[in-house]
């Protein structure tokens, strides 16, 4: 019963002691994952999220076994 969590780029440096895995019990949305993984640190305004490698919004649902990632706006190319 676990959800894998990843942080990238500036967000990884900003979030102190972000957890790489959280217990899925009681977790319904991406926002819930953020709260548990960051131990209730405030989510910055411009954070983007993904579930299982697809872009998603914070209110969207997650399930046990998912991989959830949080990152700043992308700047490739």
């Amino acid at each position: 019963m676990a959800i894998k969590v990843k942080f990238f780029a500036s967000l990884r440096e900003q979030i102190s002691e972000g957890l790489e895995q959280v217990d899925a019990t009681g977790i319904q949305t991406i926002s819930d994952v953020w709260e548990r993984a960051t131990q209730t640190q405030l989510m910055p305004e411009r954070v983007l999220c993904s579930v299982n490698l697809e872009h998603r919004e914070p209110h969207e649902a997650v399930s046990d076994g998912d991989e959830v990632a949080f990152f700043p706006p992308v700047t490739g190319g």
Binding site: L53, P72, V74, T75, G76, G77
Partner: protein, 144 residues
Amino acid sequence: MAVQLESLPFDPAAELARFESSLPVGSVGASASFVGTMRNHNEGDEVTAMMLEHYPGMTEKQLEEVIADAAQRWDIIDALIVHRTGNITPGDPIVLTAVCSAHRAAAFDACRFLMEALKSRATFWKKETLANGQQRWVENNTPG
């Protein structure tokens, strides 16, 4: 249709030649390509180096989806995206997009689309090192 992430410097001309030589002879009437290289300046500051972080797995998936979207919108024969990761210096190629089609409009338009779509969707992040040694994350894409 191919996506390549390169952790070391690549030669866009060689990649383009390989891509074009893989296509059936005579089928292509138009070929358009774009190469993005690293500048030595950004937002008024001299930049001496840059690190390109990505999300392994998701980045490739997003780039493949960008190509699939282009193939749905335009009648293209083949497309290629090559993108650097890791540490780069000014003048290094960052990205190559290439499209082959029967006619020029599809090649031009789809090639531009690949670049704009990857800049807004593909999970890459740039951290630049300035001439004074300071490091900072690039927060916004430059307008086209």
